[in-house]
Symmetry: D2
Subunit: 278 residues, 4 copies
């Protein structure tokens, strides 16, 4: 008896739940959990099922594709630890939080390595016995710097997600496309407010009463990728932007961890630059 996570998205049409659940029934699979959503505007059907039973993964995928509308995406996933790479710059709160959760066994993930453009976080990362790769960017073109990072990433073999735990450099389109919907970033504002540099300073200048953080997949428009998770905290006139930044750390790390958790549990669909979360 195995457990499978089955993620389906396709054009909506009548009878999809029936056809899919019939197939599960015929293959003697038991549905543990089922979530469905129909986006009527785009006429799109999403379904995530957790089923138990005995069947070959490829066979199940093929059977599903036969009964689904053309162009259907089917992912049959046998839960396993995902392989993730962390990238960071100088700040340790988001990175440290993930290291600690990993140490706790809270994440279904192996951290393959940590890549940074500074050497500052090495002592922290190495405490946890995780490989640290310092790739300085000084004196390099952006593409040269990324080429070095890509070389390291490729040396890792297959990886599932790259987590930007306050990695403060912009990635090139080439890099982003290579890992489409697999790079998770934490932006330190309640997007789409305060895109770009120093959002806490922007928030302070605007005099907002609430600040936030946004975890999103990275695409090629700065801070405009599909949003996975957001949260906020209250501030008031006594907050300098430095105090906002300090207070914001807690919400940044919690929101990033929440998004990562959703990714590790295969709960995210991406479409139309948005996410469907089950």
């Amino acid at each position: 008896m195995k457990t499978y996570r089955i993620l389906i998205d396709c054009h909506d049409e009548k009878g999809l739940v029936y056809k899919i659940s019939k197939l599960f029934f015929e293959h003697n699979l038991n549905i543990e959990k089922n979530d469905e959503f129909v986006d009527k505007e785009n006429n799109k059907f999403f379904m995530r099922s957790v089923v138990t039973g005995k069947i070959d993964k490829e066979a199940l995928t093929k059977s599903l594709q036969e009964i689904l509308p053309q162009g259907a995406n089917v992912r049959v996933i046998i839960p396993r630890k995902k392989r993730i790479v962390l990238m960071a710059t100088k700040e340790s709160h988001a990175l440290g939080d993930i290291l600690m959760r990993h140490y706790d066994g809270e994440l279904a993930a192996d951290i393959v390595g940590v890549i940074s453009n500074y050497d500052l976080l090495r002592p922290l990362v190495e405490k946890f016995g995780i490989a640290y790769y310092h790739v300085p960017h000084e004196g390099l073109e952006r593409s040269e710097h990324e080429a070095k990072i890509l070389e390291i990433l490729e040396s890792f073999g297959d990886i599932d997600y790259i987590v930007l735990a306050k990695y403060m450099r912009i990635l090139t389109p080439g890099f982003v496309e290579r890992y489409e919907n697999r790079i998770i970033n934490i932006h330190h504002s309640f997007l789409p407010a305060f895109i770009g540099a120093n959002p806490y300073k922007q928030a302070y200048d605007r005099g907002v009463k609430i600040i936030g953080a946004t975890a999103h997949f990275v695409n090629n428009n700065l801070d405009e990728g599909p949003i996975i998770a957001q949260d906020v905290i209250r501030v008031d006139h006594t907050y300098s932007w430095q105090k906002m930044r300090k207070a914001g750390r807690d919400v940044e790390k919690i929101v990033l961890a929440r998004a990562l958790q959703l990714a590790l549990e295969d709960r995210i669909f991406v479409y139309a630059n948005k996410t469907v979360l089950f």
Copy 2:
């Protein structure tokens, strides 16, 4: 073409989704929305479907019962305005908020009448052209007082829900049983904290930093019925209990309205003194 809300709860067993969706398919019903939940601890299956098509309500109910495990509860509901009765005492915020939402057309409900043990709220209620019934409790045994209320309720014919919008008297077991899971109360605390009288005073005395409100179905244990909705607001040492009470009004009215909305949209299952909300 009609829309039906179909609510099913029964013992869980393999193939339920398949059997139900097959039946929908055979009756040419289109699933607009589907929510399922399996409570593994109690081996219980819950499903709420919104379907469109043409079929007799009784026929559909019967067909469903034939394919479901024994003891299954099946509700096939054709959406219509529910008939609700409001009960209140002296405070107007929760009552007024419902009257305003009703006036706005935000509620799929007809307010059949408002019953109060005081005459204080009459002018407000009558502004909105709604019948007001003053049933004084002074000098009456609890059972005598309730008998008068019941008489009024019966004169209304069928009613769906009784909403206690800060009705500050305890109902007897007989009354409660008569309207099982159909009386919605708003309690002015974050239950189960501060059961009973003057929860704001209790909260003040305890020095809490957050206060809340809880909407629940009424059962025969004071403030212990199934919880439908809760929310909270922050307070600090500058709050007297009177200021807490004032601040609490907003969360009370919002939470009660949210619970009522869930009930009017047939989104609530009750079991094991809890609610499943879809």
Copy 3:
């Protein structure tokens, strides 16, 4: 014995608290509540005191100005009901909530009248015995329309605040300047995200997981005035923009009421396009 609210803002300098509290002491005033804030970036001092005693308002103002740095703003306020005017367009939830709070006696305010560019809200407003002024905008230049509104406003005599309870037209610079920091607007987004038209549609298109509302004083840049209050609610992929708009009503009305309450209690300082709230 009277109660005074004393609001002071001026350049910061050593000894201000001492000088002010000395003056209160010498005039035999008892401090009930005292809030202070120093904005170090702008070297600005803010203080709001609630004092009780017997002294002439003008005399106290003069005494304070004598001991404070040049250019100090001093407001000595004897608490009284403020005179407010509401403006609305078609939606009733924010307007209705204020009408209900006013009816409850929750607001230290007299509603002088309601002005709208439609006649739709008249029945609601007149239920509460409040004068309704329908000023259609069709076929009029913006300035002509506003001239009619101004005429009505002037007929009211002194007014303290104009509350835009979902008034969906942009005011001209001339109008705004006339009532500087006295026009409170509710914007149906978490500003500065989604400035302009249909923010719920914008929020839906962007795929945010949280939506909000912002109450602010109106200045001459659309949706860019000093923020008074903000709050948020969670949404998910199942929310159409229409459902967001519906859910957003509750946060809009609560945030607007909170901002109005702060204004009525003289708790707001405005400077550098921000607010200091005590």
Copy 4:
């Protein structure tokens, strides 16, 4: 030029702010920040000032006591790193979060050591170069176990706070009295709901829609000490109590850190089993 935090609480009487600010002025102290609160119910005055200048700490304390009502508490504090001891049992999330914040330099504290009744957390603690003391409780009377802990605590010399980062044993009255208002505990519920063992199981059984965490000073009534900080998260019917416990970890660690931060910055007054926080 030094910075002092001055915390005063005493019976309220007319002219306190004047007398205190006069004394600051005469000693040439500049007020950087001032917070005051009068509890009218108990006729009690609280003030926390941050001042800069040059004066002897003892002299300032003495001067203040001379002008204040009898029985006044005066604390003149020169900000320094506090010396704290952490106690834990088996769970690492709250402990790890404090270790990480300490590593980040976010806490104005030296962690003198970590004491646990298990040896489980030793590898984590020693990664950060902090001394770990394993004091098994098996086979010992509670008093014997605590005697061993007290011996270790005494060996540390002066300590400011003991932080119970999920230390799952009840302390005896003798222990608690020794460190009155200096032991900070995190309780994994929104107190006073769910006092005692396994609050997540209790919350699950009650069917609440919100769970929380509470940081409080420990007194001799289980989970009834003065509350410092609380926060909540939403749950729904899909949460088993184990899932609640997992979700609750984030709010536990954040709330504990917030309370510790308040303590380290000398922002807490305790009276009447409550806290005043500036």
